[in-house]
Amino acid sequence: MRNADRRGVRNSGRRPMVVAFENIGLTYEDGAEVLRSVNFSLKDGEFRFLTGPSGAGKTSLLKLIYLALKPTKGRLTLFGEDVTDAPRETLPALRRRIGVVFQEFRLLNHLTAFENVSLPMRIAGVNQAHYREDVSELLNWVGLGDRMHAPPQTLSGGEKQRVALARALVSKPDLILADEPTGNVDPEMGEKIMKLFVELNRLGAAVVIATHDIHLVEALGKKSMRLDNGRLVDGVMRGGASSWRAQA
């Protein structure tokens, strides 16, 4: 479902499932079991924090959603499609509907900031004439208008974070995933970035943010779920640590 379809569905009141984990387990090749019987669902337009201590499995859970890993147990549904054993030729179309802000940015060092942000558009086959202005506008908006042609290795951590953010957003994804998006920026910048995610969510995108910054979670008052030792504990909560309450 692309943007126009999603708005139509939202206006009609139906909220299709964007992500559904059914009894999902994940064991790495070295035998480490990182996720155990995880069940949760995310509807179109929902906002969800994913919290938990380091090593709890937050990044692995996100990797399952952005189709970098296959679950070793259970059933994974994305945008209404069962993708548990989806053939690889069906994955690119699904991945293009997901914008990911990776924890370590994953920028391509041989490309400029502009080219990194343009990457999803190039991959989608869009002519540069049709996205040049949008990418420039986006980079200006994240405060990197003057670093547009700089290679990532000359950017600071915060600047890289913003390039990664712009890259995740440029294709107007239906689902935005962010892994510790405020981990490398100061609190003021972190707050701005979080407000951006809230705004994007308000405009229709489903958002999942993995973070261990409980203060940000509390400040925004959005739903959150907590992973501990590979298991979702206490279901889905609203608000911060002080107001954890199980939801049906």
Partner: protein, 352 residues
């Protein structure tokens, strides 16, 4: 059962933890670039006729900087290897062309010229028989350029093998060279019969033995040079396959990221093909230039040491024959880039 990666060659890798910094943005109203009410990239690509990412050559023709860095096996070493392979292929092709041209000239000359040997016990007998032979040849249709080479001249031809003065103890025949047209050549039996009827000791030599030998030698030479050309091109393809695999390994993180932002295998293979096309064209043009320089030097050396008209093929007299060598960069580039593309596609398919 353990977790399997999807679509990428490696797990997440990054530049390491960066230091926390402050800075500007994102500030102000959400830019149009990310507002969901605009067209999606897929819509834009479809409406503007952009190269579909999933299309066979989508990765080749979408503009911008190369998405795969020029490192590892697709850099300068690959250019050098392709240059050497192209030079060898161009030289082999040049040899093929030169032998073909020379063989055609040799056989044309041999087919058009004939010789009558005039044997006799002494000079007087040889002279008499020579006159008889000349009367038959002059009366024959399609015969021209009759030249009598006296026994002394024939003796000179034997000097390298028999030494000076061989004619003193050998009865060296006189030779009559002449040219025949196609009609006369078709009636060789009649001409031979008239010569035999005119006098004893007249032997018509149509150079058939030489001609057949030359044809066989030329065909062998052509097969050899063409075989070398094919082998060198195949070797270049094999090297391209190895290099493509090495390039995939060297760029595993890049390829993993491309997959994760929605690239198809065809798009990535297209990017690799684009890199190999560029590197192969660059290398093969260098190789072609080197081969052309080598041929020019060879032509000069042969020209300086004497006329090459008969035994050695001459490019100087047929520069147009070098034109097919321009196909070498095209052939090597096409073969290596297509091989690289296929190698990458096969390799990516094995990678869940």
């Amino acid at each position: 059962m353990s977790a399997k990666r999807r679509g990428g060659k490696s797990q997440d890798a990054g530049a390491g933890r960066a230091r926390p910094v402050g800075g500007r943005g994102p500030e102000g109203p959400l830019p149009n670039a990310v507002r969901p009410d605009g067209p999606s990239p897929d819509d834009l690509a479809a409406s503007t006729g952009g190269a579909a990412a999933g299309s066979r050559l989508g990765g080749v023709f979408v503009g911008g900087a190369p998405l795969l860095p020029d490192v590892g096996a697709t850099g300068a070493p690959m250019t050098a290897v392709i240059a050497v392979m192209s030079a060898l292929a161009a030289l082999a092709l040049a040899g093929f062309i030169a032998i073909a041209a020379a063989a055609e000239r040799w056989t044309d000359d041999l087919e058009a010229s004939m010789t009558v040997q005039v044997k006799g016990a002494d000079k007087e007998e040889i002279d008499g028989r020579t006159l008889s032979a000349l009367s038959v040849l002059e009366a024959a249709d399609g015969v021209s350029g009759i030249q009598v080479r006296p026994p002394e001249e024939a003796a000179k031809l034997l000097t390298p093998w028999l030494g000076e003065g061989a004619s003193a103890y050998l009865s060296v025949p006189a030779l009559i060279d002449f040219k025949v047209d196609a009609a006369a050549r078709a009636d060789l039996g009649g001409l031979r019969a008239r010569l035999v009827g005119a006098s004893d000791g007249l032997i018509l030599d149509d150079h058939g033995v030489w001609n057949d030998s030359l044809r066989t030698a030329a065909r062998s030479g052509q097969a050899l040079t063409f075989g070398i050309f094919v082998l060198v091109t195949a070797a270049a393809c094999a090297i391209a396959a190895f290099a493509a695999r090495a390039g995939l390994a060297a760029n595993a993180d890049v390829i993993s990221l491309l997959h994760l932002v929605g690239a198809t295998d065809a798009f990535i293979a297209g990017e690799v093909q684009k890199r190999f096309l560029f590197v192969s064209l660059r290398g093969s043009l260098i190789g072609l230039a080197a081969a052309a320089a080598a041929i020019a030097a060879l032509t000069l050396i042969v020209g300086a040491s004497g006329p090459p008209e008969f035994f050695l093929p001459s490019f100087a007299t047929h520069p147009a024959l070098l034109a097919p060598m321009l196909l070498v960069p095209a052939a090597i580039s096409a073969a290596t880039s297509v091989t690289a593309r296929r190698t990458v596609l096969a390799s990516l398919k094995q990678d869940l």
